[in-house]
Amino acid sequence: MTWDWQVFLQDTGGGQTYLNWMLSAWGWTLSVAVCALVVALSVGSLMGILRTTPNKWFVALGNCWTELFRNIPLLVQLFLWYHVIPSMFLVLRGVPSFVLVVLALGFFTSARIAEQVKAGIQTLPKGQTYAGLAMGLTLPQTYRYVILPMAFRIVIPPLTSESMNIIKNSSVAFAVSITELTMFAMQAQEETSRGIEIYLAVTALYFVSAFSVNRLALFIENRVQVPGMIGGGK
């Protein structure tokens, strides 16, 4: 077979080249991933923290949340957000599918992040909580000033791989017609029949995105490292 990279300069019929379309699709992938990551980090941290509190209702809420969002496939959750929820809550009927995808991916990932945050908090010696409380800090203050600053730095490596997963998982958005990279790959392949070139380019963009997240996370990790801990001590 022969290569035909000029396919990217062909017109899509909509007044732009396939290259332009691919770059805008990359933009959609990154926007979905970044917005979902913001949702996942905030909700996931909250649920992870709730699961370590002494209040059994909070713990139960956090546990239910994690089990619910962890045991349903992402694609099925996406369909629930897209088909089921708007038909039950009519207010949500006009919400753009971008928002629904972000919520679906964000909540799905939040269950995983909750698990990591919980594990991170539990690796800290219990004595730190007791010390905080003995000093007269309230429980929220203990979390804010004693536990979380340590716990978040401990969980950066697992959170990095979750952030890379979220870029990979954003590919399911094709199922609800968001023109992100996977959707672009499927459609452009069909229109041009130059599947290999298109798929190679799209795969390369996924690589670049995940790799950049990895480097960025490494940079953050080095900056916030706790001196004296494994890998730290500068």
């Binding site: 045991n71 959750q77 629930l80 954003s170 799209v202 995940a210």
Partner: protein, 223 residues
């Protein structure tokens, strides 16, 4: 809130004619990809731990590449490439089975690598000292313990694999989710069928993960 749900169309006939076929395929895909993936993954893990550069490099390349591409893209790649390589079209179902085996091998191999490394090195030396060859030592001493140590993690990965089988949606293979979707379209009740699909997936995955948790307590080796 508008709760106008009607599940009455979901009788046994509908389930057995639309959903059962999909469920059988999803389970089939999971089991084949698990067995094939663990076998291939173990070979990859042994290659990466062999210390020989010409074995380590290709195995590391295989694992790292597949782990950084979205599964949906891998499914699309195989669906495009296999017919080009063998010269004739291949059904979505068979293509999915090959894809998942190859893809999951990369994830299982990382688990097996950790499992093999969890066996103390002294045991390998002990194996050699009593005159075992490398294959004997791996087969009789290291791998049985590696499997045992990693069984919960391997099974957890299998639950994730079962969830991921829903992504064959991208190439139109007929799996559990597709079964529900077709039923929903036929009776014009998509909302109800998606809900039931979610409940079915949840029940299967949740009960499996409970089982794994119980197993984990039972088989942990106390050192």
């Amino acid at each position: 809130m508008n709760l106008n749900l009607d599940f009455s169309f979901l009788n046994w006939g509908v389930v057995s004619s639309f959903v059962a076929k999909g469920l059988i395929f999803s389970v089939q895909l999971t089991v084949i990809a698990m067995i094939g993936g663990i076998a291939l993954g173990t070979v990859l893990a042994l290659m990466r731990l062999s210390g020989k550069k010409w074995l380590v490099a290709p195995a590391a390349f295989y694992v790292n590449t597949l782990r950084s591409i979205p599964l949906v893209m891998v499914i699309l790649w195989f669906f495009l490439l296999i017919p080009l390589l063998i010269g004739r079209p291949m059904g979505a179902e068979l293509s999915a089975i090959i894809t998942f085996t190859v893809f999951e091998a990369a994830y299982y191999s990382e688990i097996m690598r950790a499992g093999i490394q969890s066996v103390p090195k002294g045991q390998v030396y002990a194996g050699y000292a009593v005159g075992m060859t490398y294959p004997q030592c791996m087969q009789l001493v290291v791998l049985p313990q590696a499997f045992r140590n990693m069984l919960p993690v391997l099974l957890t990965q299998t639950i994730i694999l079962f969830q991921d089988t829903s992504l064959v949606y991208a190439i139109g293979a007929y799996d559990l989710l597709k079964g529900f979707e077709v039923a929903g379209k036929n009776f014009n009740r998509p909302v109800e069928t998606y809900l039931v699909a979610a409940v079915v997936y949840f029940v299967i995955c949740f009960s499996l993960s409970m089982l794994v948790r119980r197993l984990q307590k039972k088989i942990a080796i106390i050192r």
